[in-house]
């Protein structure tokens, strides 16, 4: 008697954990990695990094100086 709703609940839980594994967590990891790269090349204030990436930053219209 309870089997049908129970099954539906289980499928729901399963697809939710699949979405987490396949979509949300890989996207989160890739997104964080992307932000780290953008920060380093586009925003980090170390003089060396700023001067090396200077022309790229101006061209990408990042607030520079």
């Amino acid at each position: 008697m309870f089997s049908v709703p129970l099954l539906i609940d289980n499928i729901d839980a399963l697809s939710r954990s699949d979405a987490l594994k396949d979509k949300i967590l890989p996207s989160l990891l890739a997104g964080v990695l992307g932000l780290v790269l953008l920060y380093g090349a586009g925003f980090a204030e170390t003089a060396q990094l700023h001067n090396a990436a200077h022309d790229g930053r101006h061209s990408a219209s990042f607030p520079c100086h």
Binding site: L20, K21, D22, K23, I24, L25, P26, S27, L28, L29, A30, G31, L33, G34, L35, V36, L37, L38, G40, A41, G42, F43, A47, Q48, H50, N51, A52, A53, H54, D55, G56, R57, H58, S59, A60, S61, F62, P63, C64, H65
Partner: protein, 252 residues
């Protein structure tokens, strides 16, 4: 016999590694190629204007140092001159290429992360649309308030401009997402509001507008960067589509 699964494998099982690879590998290749393309386009039409503006900036700095004025521009310039910077010519171009490729891989990872939530890009034509969205989010929206500037332009406080830039980028990204992917009218309305809100608030402006370089040079620079970034983003998006597809085919 009981099989003991080491905790490391349990942690890996927490998320799908092959899906992460399906974002990472295309992002690395697309970033590399689009970054190199950007460097070529830039060196043809952006860098010449930038170098011209630098001559004006150096002249202005020399004059203000000579007259013992403590203008902000001169201070910044001197501070930069003290630390290492690449020599003009091949060295400078090489560092710009490295910066462009890093930025491109970073942008490609964000593009891959966002499109993975929607089931991936899959085709270069879809990639063009994702690229167009990236161009709108990271170039058009922030540039409406803070136009691309040649060196030696008076500008408001750096931290304030960075904050506004970040707000414009985040608002535009969420705004476009809601506008295109949400199903309810209320969410679409909210998306539209987010798109315009940074411009209603307004970008921080300097007390006095001015530039060492003439106004035409500043305008040429805006057109040049707008073109270069459009080419870059469309290339990045379509390459992501192309490489994601290849990656999926190989996987099969």
């Amino acid at each position: 016999m009981t099989v003991v699964i080491p905790p490391v494998f349990l942690a890996i099982d927490m998320f799908n590694l092959s899906h992460f690879r399906m974002i990472l590998i295309p992002a690395l290749w697309s970033g590399l190629w689009a970054g190199m393309l950007l460097t070529v386009v830039q060196s043809i039409q952006v860098i010449p204007t930038l170098l011209q503006a630098e001559v004006y900036e150096e002249q202005a700095a020399a004059i203000s140092v000579h007259s013992h004025s403590s203008s902000k521009g001169a201070q910044t310039h001197q501070h930069e001159a003290e630390s290492w910077q690449p020599q003009n010519g091949w060295e400078r171009t090489a560092y710009t290429a490295a910066a462009n490729i890093s930025l491109a891989v970073g942008f490609a990872l964000l593009l891959g992360a966002a499109s993975n939530l929607r089931g991936g890009i899959g085709h270069w034509r879809n990639g063009l649309l994702w690229g167009l969205a990236g161009y709108t989010i990271f170039f058009v929206a922030p540039s409406l308030g803070l136009p691309p500037e040649v060196p030696g332009t008076e500008a408001a406080n750096l931290k304030d401009r960075q904050l506004w830039w970040l707000m414009a980028v985040i608002d535009t990204a969420i705004g476009l997402w809601l506008l295109f992917f949400s199903k309810t009218r209320l969410n679409k309305l909210l998306g539209s509001l987010l798109l315009i809100s940074p411009h209603l608030i307004g970008a921080p402006q300097p007390d006095v507008h001015g530039s060492a370089a003439p106004a035409e040079l500043a305008n040429t620079f805006i057109v040049a960067t707008a073109t270069a970034n459009a080419v870059f983003w469309l290339a990045l998006g379509s390459l992501m589509g192309l490489f994601s597809r290849k990656n999926q085919v190989i996987k099969k």
